[in-house]
Subunit: 270 residues, 2 copies
């Protein structure tokens, strides 16, 4: 008969180039992805065993495992102890939308300008006091900003910070170019973690005016609450943007371009 055993499935695939700048495990990840994307390995089917992959590609078990672990982390493949490793069918819940889809929120985009519209120290309303876990009537810093990207307003931001008498407000400090610096606070307080939440809204009249959008149009509201290392809330606020300026998109399954998803990011340090 002509049925191929699964150990022969990848025989037509390229081998690993030991002279390449690309590490062997990355090459193997790409070879396997290609095999799946090309339909050689179909959802639900079993991959060649790790021992077979070692022999076929001439690498050590650790290298094969590493490649398979990466595919497992990406939800492409599903290893089961004692049974084998299987190609995962595409799963809707696997989709993740990341905030980089929001213009201006990523530190790398230096195109973004932050214009300070208003800043003052005020007594906390009941809502603000609850969010920041301070007594109602405590003093908090209130501010309103406009994020401008390529000369066009993208977000209105409202924020409330706990007022720290030890750190006077310097207006210039508020006109930061990156939102990153904004939250890391050029001051002493470091942020440990944050909670974010997105919901759709109808643009309020004033925000619509600032965003040069029509009032009543649909928009996103991105709420944020940041905590310091003592788990105390430090800042609360939200961004409002028009729906047609911001869109969250993502892919599930194997992207059209397999590409190198595994680049390590070398960011600047704080």
């Amino acid at each position: 008969m002509t049925r191929k055993p699964r150990s022969r499935v990848l025989d037509a695939s390229p081998s690993i180039d030991r002279d390449s700048f690309e590490p062997a495990y990355i090459q193997l990840v790409n070879i396997l992805r290609q095999g799946i994307a090309a339909g050689l390995l179909r959802p639900g089917e079993q991959l060649p065993s790790e021992a077979q992959l070692c022999r076929r590609f001439g690498v050590s078990p650790m290298t094969v495992r590493r490649a398979i672990n990466i595919l497992a982390d990406q939800d492409v493949v599903n290893p089961q102890q004692g049974r084998g490793t299987y190609v995962k069918p595409l799963h809707l819940g696997a989709a993740t939308f990341n905030l980089t889809g929001f213009p201006g929120l990523s530190a790398s985009t230096s195109q973004t300008v932050v214009r300070l519209l208003e800043v003052r120290v005020n007594k906390a309303s009941e809502l603000v006091a609850r969010k920041l876990a301070v007594d109602a009537g405590s003093r908090v810093i209130e501010m309103r900003r406009l994020l401008i990207e390529a000369e066009r307003p993208v977000f209105v931001h409202r924020g409330y910070l706990v007022y720290d008498p030890g750190r006077p407000i310097v207006e210039a400090e508020m006109e930061v170019t990156t939102l990153q610096a904004l939250f890391s606070g050029s001051g002493s307080n470091l942020i440990k973690r944050g909670e974010l939440s997105i919901e759709p809204t109808i643009l309020p009249a004033e925000d619509a005016r600032l965003l040069l959008a029509t009032p009543g149009a649909p928009g996103f509201c991105l709420e944020h609450l940041f905590f310091d290392f003592q788990e105390c809330p430090l800042s609360w606020g939200w961004f409002v943007g028009a729906a047609d300026r911001v869109r969250l998109t993502t892919q599930v399954g194997l992207p059209a371009t397999p590409a190198a998803t595994e680049e390590r990011r070398h960011d600047a340090l704080a």
Copy 2:
């Protein structure tokens, strides 16, 4: 002087329990996370070198590297060749919202009921034809469904599928309990990948009626386009839900409960 060298920073941390069911590399991930969450290791600071970690915890270099790789993947830490590994300051762009926040879209929730409102074969409008890459006027399957979760309607779904004469429409087949089965299509066509996109909208009157929501209220629209292994579009459609039923939330930085993020998922196979 009393300044601690960074190699001593983790001296107070627990050691690795070789009798634990938890693998050494997971224990090490958690120890390091704890150290960061507790403020022992602050954003921007350098971790003990890998060699130091090997000695401190009595594990081999590969085990240390594995733990650090996991933290790097989680954007907690930033290894730089030749310099050292540093604690990453929290970065807004790191936030990812996943679709599991949407009720009913994950296969695991068996609480979800899908009610078929309408299904028919129709000629494709210009828009539908463009999305599905077929000739305008070709026949496509049109359907409208209602997703019900715990007796309450959550989403209206409109979908268009390329009409395959070889596979007649079985109405019962449409009344699937999980949306997963819906897209994997109990038929012959397998889906390779999909493109998803979320945008806010204003609920149309008819959808609002089905969702028992007030017309004109804000809502989410989740658009999807699925492709087969030949890169041909198979299905296009969108879900509409009211804003107050669906909310996308996420965390950036270190979650309050360090927990075991590293569980391997053992899903049922197709």
